[in-house]
Each structure stands twice: as C-alpha cells, then as structure tokens.
C-alpha cells in the first residue's frame, strides 16, 4: 500500500471521526488508557477526536513522555484536512467516511456501532476488511485491533466506476451509444 512513511517525522496523528451524528462508545474507547498506550507503542504521538453530538467529552492532554496528546472538536467543515494530516484514521462505519479515507490511501480502522437499530453498516466494514482495505473493530476490541494490526498487509482500494450503470441506463432508455 502506498502509505507515506512519516515515521521519521516527530508528529504522527491519529484522527478519530464519528461522522454527522454521535458515537460515544467510540470516543470512550479511544479515550481509554489501553487504546492510548497501544497507539503510543505504535509510534503515534497525537490523537485528534471529532466527537460530533456526543455527550462524552474526552480529557484533553498535551504530549508528555510516554503518552499521546489528546485534542478534540465537535464538528468541522474541514474534515478532509484532518483526514489528510492523519497517519491513521479510526472511523465510524458510515460509507462516506470510509471511502473518503480509502481514497486518501490512509490506513483505516472502522469501529462498528453496535447500538444502531438496523445494523447493516457492519456488512460494508467486514467486506472491505475481508478484502484487506481496512481493519474492522468493535469499541471493546479496539485496543486489540491496534496492537495486532499490520499496516503493510493493507491493499489500496481501487477507485469506483459509475460507467457500467450509466451505460445500462442509457441502453434501457434507448439512447444511442456514444
């Protein structure tokens, strides 16, 4: 996978995003000592958390020796910028966030929200994990996923293509082929 090797840089950011609603279980999970320690052990220095409408507020902290610096915000119009600056993305399972991250060729851990009523989101994350485009985790197993993940095993996600659908629609309606 074409992932920029920025391990020489001092700053390695983990960006956590819950999307347009809330996902307290994810914010709570990344705020645990276990997850922060695993991230630090993997060489990450900063943890930036987008918490959305959630009510759980993580503790802000500056980077001391032996731990990651934690910063958070609720919403931002420049999520894309945060994604671009990240060395690792931990995201909710919404398809928007997933594909935006994959297009930027960033290593991604998708955390499935077990509290959703119609939990079909897991399907997509698991399928893409099976195809080695990302890692799939649950809030309780996140620290294990971080500890055991091997970023070199990830494969780049090929860009999608709407041409086949467009062709079929045109053909069905009787428009001539170009």
């Amino acid at each position: 996978m074409e992932i920029a090797d920025d391990s020489k840089n001092s700053k390695r950011v983990v960006f956590v995003t819950v999307g347009t609603t809330l996902f307290d279980a994810l914010v709570r999970a990344v705020d645990t000592q276990e997850v922060r320690q695993e991230l630090y052990a993997k060489g990450y220095t900063h943890l930036l958390i987008q918490i959305g409408r959630g009510s759980y507020i993580p503790a802000r902290s500056t980077s001391d020796n032996g731990s990651v610096a934690v910063e958070y915000f609720t919403f931002s119009s420049s999520i894309a910028e945060s994604l671009r600056s990240a060395s690792l993305v931990i995201s909710h399972a919404g398809s928007g966030s997933i594909f935006e991250t994959l297009r930027l060729r960033k290593p991604l851990i998708v955390v499935v929200n077990e509290d959703l009523m119609d939990n079909h989101q897991e399907e997509l994350a698991e399928e893409l994990a099976e195809r080695k485009h990302l890692f799939c985790a649950h809030p309780r197993t996140l620290h294990q996923t971080i500890a055991s993940m091997n970023l070199d095993s990830l494969l780049p996600y090929p860009a999608g293509d709407a041409k086949p659908v467009s062709k079929l629609i045109n053909k069905f309606l009787g428009f001539p082929e170009d």
């Binding site: 009523m117 989101q121 999608g160 069905f172 428009f175």
Partner: protein, 229 residues
C-alpha cells in the same frame, strides 16, 4: 306488485353497479398485468429527446454515490432534472446544487430542488412510521403530479418508496410512463435495504442495480454493476 317492481328495479340497479365495478376492476387488473410485464423491458430503440428526470437524494453516503452516477450521465439527455431530498436533510440538496453549478458549463440547464417529508427517520420505530408514511405519501403525490418524471433515479433512502409507488400508479392509470432505476447502496453487501427489497419484490423498479456480486446471486433479477465509490 309495486313492492316487487321496486325490488326488481333496485336489483337491476345493484346488478348494474356490480357489473361496472367488476368491469373497472378487471380493466385495472389487465392494465396492472400489462404494466408489470412491460416494466423492466427497455424503451424503443432510439430515444432522441431528453427525458425529465427525478433524482431522489438521501443523507450522507447515498448522495455521494448518486453524484458519482450523475457525473457519468449525459446532462442533455436527462433534463430537466428535479432533485428531491428529505425535509430534515439540508446537506443533500446543497451537494446537488454544488454539482449542478460546477459541472454545467452551458447556461440554463434546468434543475429544480424540492424537499419531501420522510416516511421514517433513522432510528424511528417501525410502528410510528406508519403515520409518518401516510403524510409522506400525500406530499409525494402532490410533488409527483407537478413533476410527472419520465426517469426516476434513486439509491436507497426510504424517501424514494412513496415516489416510486406513485410513479408506478401513474403507469397503471396511463397518466405518465416512467422508467425507474434503483441503485442499491454500496453499504448493502449481504441483504437489500428495505427500500430495495420492496421495489424488487413488487416489480416496481425497471432495473435494480447492486454493487456486490454476492448480493446479485441472492437476488437474481438484480444487475451487478461493480462499486460506484
């Protein structure tokens, strides 16, 4: 005698009504069968004039997928374009406006934007969604009478169900023939969404596309088109 006559007349009247009702029902049934049979078959070999197109948008990932499809479709064939999104969803129409203004070089390519009541919010129980669905249907009917599209593009949100059902009714009643295309969201890997399943089972969608091969195997009348994202 008088009584008997009256009785006979009313019998004849009710017989007459019964005959009319049965005839009308039969006609509707025959037409319904014709429409169901005609759905899914492509239109005449060469269409030259542009077709008015209704595009149903949904929140988040759905809209992104739809925009990806619209980028591929020739704008001069699919016009005028009517964008519909849920009343609670402000972002989707904004994204459609951005798409329209960024990609249309020629001026005056007509596009209109409308909002519709949603039949079910994410997380709303299936029970209370019965009432909200009825309101959504009435509103959808009003919009569809105004638009009467020839092409309907939708990809997932529940908003499309009343619109597609009305479009199908228009086909049966001969008000407007439309082609309904449904692209199942990329997020659906193993099972169709409720919207997709309804349109598939009822035969309302002319073509139903899926983005994963295992989904096509499960629903043989669907068409596998690969990932749009």
């Amino acid at each position: 005698m008088m009584r008997e006559n009256q009785w006979l007349t009313s019998m004849a009247e009710s017989n007459g009504i019964a005959v009319i009702v049965v005839t009308v029902l039969t006609l509707i049934l025959v037409r319904l069968l014709y429409v169901l049979n005609r759905c899914g078959k492509s239109l005449r070999p060469t269409t030259v004039k542009p077709l008015s197109t209704l595009i149903v948008l949904g929140s988040g990932g759905h809209t992104a997928e739809m925009i990806n499809l619209l980028l591929e479709l020739q704008k001069d064939r699919f016009m005028p374009r009517y964008y519909v999104a849920a009343a609670t969803d402000n972002m989707s129409l904004q994204k459609a406006r951005t798409f329209e203004s960024s990609s249309s070089s020629e001026k005056g390519t007509p596009a209109q934007y409308m909002q519709i009541y949603r039949s079910r919010e994410v997380g709303q129980s299936y029970l209370t969604s019965v009432g909200t669905t009825l309101i959504a249907i009435a509103h959808a009917l009003w919009l569809m009478i105004k638009i009467r599209p020839e092409v309907i593009l939708c990809n997932g949100p529940g908003t499309c169900i009343p619109l597609c059902a009305i479009a199908f009714m228009f086909k049966v009643l001969g008000i407007r023939w439309s082609s309904i295309f449904y692209v199942e969201s990329i997020a659906r890997v193993k099972r169709l969404s409720l919207s997709g399943l309804l349109l598939y089972k009822l035969g309302i969608a002319d073509q139903l596309y899926v983005q994963w091969p295992q989904l096509q195997r499960k629903y043989p009348r669907s068409i596998y088109v690969g990932c749009l994202m």
